[in-house]
Subunit: 196 residues, 2 copies
């Protein structure tokens, strides 16, 4: 199996059902969905991502906890929930991650807010920032130069997820609050690239 490089050229496709295990009413999405209620679904209880990588959100309007959805089957909400301390039993909006580019992903993390303090350059997946030489369990700010990444609260890509992209905010995240409306602490202990 080889990994495709370059910008994703196909169409995005995500199928959502209002019952677990791909049962009940279904709806196909090929572009972003601001609020699933407007698409005739009361809730999303299972998902199959057929192409592209998507990010799902807890609340309408791309708000709340973020859930990276790569190609594959999510038969129940437990399959996409990132943090067991704060479960997300449903998703209310989602969008494709258009800037994902596995082969050209570069970012820099900084110890303090506003791109200050010690820094570390990343171009590969890091299941443990500490194992890569990052002394702290926190990241104060970060710049994404290319691609899209997911930062996770705990090692091994566990806990709260924060999607950061080169084509959002000019790739600049000056303080942890800019990582998402659900960000409560600067705790980030693993970071990986997002592929299409």
């Amino acid at each position: 199996m080889s990994q495709a490089g370059g910008k994703f050229s196909g169409l995005w496709k995500l199928v959502a059902w209002d019952e677990p295990s791909f049962q009940g009413r279904q709806h196909e999405f090929t572009s972003e969905c601001y609020d699933i209620a407007a698409c005739g679904l009361e809730e999303v209880c299972s998902v199959r991502v057929e192409s592209g990588t998507w990010v799902g959100f807890e609340h309408p309007g791309f708000q709340g906890q973020q859930l990276v959805l790569e190609q594959g089957e999510y038969p129940c909400w437990e399959a996409w929930a990132g943090n067991v301390a704060y479960c997300v039993p449903r998703m209310s909006s989602f969008r494709p991650i258009s800037s994902a580019n596995l082969r050209d992903s570069e970012m820099t993390i900084f110890e303090q807010e506003n791109f200050l303090g010690r820094k570390g350059d990343l171009s590969e997946d890091c299941p443990s920032l500490k194992a890569m030489g990052w002394a702290s369990s926190e990241v104060g700010s970060l710049r994404v130069y290319s691609g899209a990444w997911v930062c996770s609260q705990f090692p091994g890509y566990r806990g709260f997820q924060y999607v950061v992209e080169s084509d959002c905010r000019g790739g600049e995240y000056k303080r942890f609050q800019e990582l998402g409306s659900h960000a409560r602490t600067p705790q980030v202990q693993s970071i990986r690239r997002i592929q299409q």
Copy 2:
């Protein structure tokens, strides 16, 4: 930050506490622990991995759900729990993953049991097997030629985790039941290498 290659040459070290947030009684481990009760800890509620990568187990004797523990801080059980549908509020045994070798990791997955059916060769992390060309959401059997890997039930390294190693069982896992005492289905949708 550069990633170290080759066999891990340092000592393993994991510190465990019997209360959350690194409080209460603590114990340092530098080698495997068959049963935490024998080390004077009634339970493990927070963990800091200072060197090496470890795997924690739900039950004594390296049984039950498996939890990969890379370097970093796990202030509560939610930080290491891999599956929200079947929570693991404590760990009862753990051991270092001695065969982990990020730069020399090779494995082959097979569609059916006993190394039959279509196959796929892996030498890099795969957050979505489907995106890499694997049609099924299941893996029937697998061979690990080098290194240590973690197979996960759902895309993006979520759900049940199964650690597979070149120096366990000769690297041969002939059916899904051999992935661990907690394996209930052949569902595997993401696989990544384990680093030291």
